[in-house]
């Protein structure tokens, strides 16, 4: 059973178009400080790999699991404890 959170809907509602925009938006939402540049790049690369594209619109039907893993990674960052 998964929590009643729809990350795909959040992406859609925020009109995010690329994986970089998703990482930045989630970073702003869940962290008090900006992601380190290298970590940000790794997260974008992770999302690109999981979705097979940088275009969010193309992955809209199957991106929920990848988005959940991205949020898990963000919450695993030390900076998340500053929230």
């Amino acid at each position: 059973m998964t929590a009643g959170v729809n990350l795909t809907a959040m992406v859609r509602a925020s009109r995010l178009r690329t994986t970089a925009e998703v990482v930045d938006a989630f970073g702003r939402r869940f962290l008090r400080v900006p992601l380190d540049a290298d970590v940000r790049a790794r997260f974008i690369g992770f999302l690109n790999g999981e979705l097979g594209t940088t275009d969010v619109a193309q992955a809209e039907t199957y991106m929920e699991d990848a988005l959940r893993m991205l949020v898990h990674l963000i919450m695993s960052a030390p900076e998340y404890q500053l929230g």
């Binding site: 380190d36 290298d38 970590v39 695993s76």
Partner: protein, 312 residues
């Protein structure tokens, strides 16, 4: 634990001013002024096993030669003819054959009757006082943590290890970040396989403020230490039988065997096992032998380590 190490321990853990301020016995004040350099230069290891819940020290090493003991314990006092006497005043409780042997072999020292004036009857306050060795002070750091600061000022990676489900106040330190784990095999970040490579990098970055740098240091320490602990545990083999409930002493032995730079290990009986208010006599009699069995096993395998158990 030899006398010099104990003195250094007491000095670093209690502090000169603290010992005096608390009105502690002269023994503490005197030992507090003893040398720390000797211990700092030594590679000796201290293993602390807390008999969590508050072991009944008077029914562990019984002062049978003191009438006050029987006056105040008409029911649960242990009769002299049941004890394993070590002199004309003290005797081990009947089940502690292992401790008796260690004592007779000169491998066990006891600091009996530790305490402070007007003790708190709150479990929580009492635990905090014992963990900080600072009654009624609101001390922020634990006695083991302060000892680490005395032995290795400024901190050092993996200098203090605390094996438990949560970190004990006893090991909390200003300079040192204790390695805290429960199950070595599960001492790692959990996630889907795709995520695991990224966990190696989440603590990267220099950090823009002290809080970030602190958190990243903690994350790096946990990442690096967890790898060492898992590897040490996977490689450790011992012919020693630690019994049905081995506590955490085989884990300590594994890390020592692997050559970790840890000098202070802290483990505890789980679930406040020694909180023996109900059916005190029988329960305490069962717990004490389990303690000595594991401790003897650990002493037999971890050469170079020294043990200290509160009131035991």
């Amino acid at each position: 634990m030899n006398e010099c190490s104990r003195r250094a321990l007491l000095k670093a853990g209690l502090g000169t001013s603290l010992a005096g301020a608390l009105g502690m016995p002269a023994f503490f004040a005197q030992t507090a002024t003893a040398l720390t350099d000797e211990a700092a230069a030594s590679d000796r290891i201290l293993v602390v096993l807390e008999l969590s819940g508050g072991n009944d020290g008077l029914n562990t090493l019984v002062p049978y030669g003191d009438d006050a003991y029987y006056r105040h314990r008409p029911t649960i006092g242990l009769k002299p003819d049941r004890l394993r006497k070590i002199d004309d005043r003290f005797g081990w409780s009947p089940g502690m054959a292992g401790f008796e042997r260690l004592y007779k072999d000169g491998r066990l020292a006891v600091v009996h009757g530790c305490g402070y004036d007007t003790p708190s009857f709150s479990h929580f306050s009492s635990m905090a006082y014992w963990h900080t060795a600072a009654p009624n002070r609101g001390e922020e750091y634990g006695w083991v943590g302060r000892l680490a600061e005395g032995l290795r000022p400024g901190g050092a990676p993996n200098f203090v290890v605390n094996i438990d489900t949560t970190q004990s106040l006893a090991v909390r330190s200003r300079d040192h970040t204790p390695v805290v784990f429960d199950d070595p095999e599960r001492f790692s970040r959990k996630g889907f396989s795709q995520e695991l490579p990224l966990f190696q990098h989440v603590a990267e970055g220099s950090g823009d403020n002290p809080a970030q740098r602190y958190l990243r240091d903690i994350a790096r320490s946990a990442r690096d230490a967890s790898a060492l602990v898992r590897e040490a545990w996977a490689r450790y083999r011992s012919p020693v039988d630690y019994g049905i409930v081995p506590l955490d002493l085989p884990k300590v032995a594994a890390l020592i065997d692997a050559g970790l730079p840890t000098r202070l290990y802290y483990a505890a009986y789980r679930h406040n096992a020694f909180d023996t208010h109900v059916h005190q006599g029988d329960l305490h009699a069962r717990l004490s032998p389990t303690c000595r069995t594991r401790w003897r096993a650990s002493c037999g395998t971890s050469s170079g380590s020294a043990g200290a158990a509160r009131s035991c």
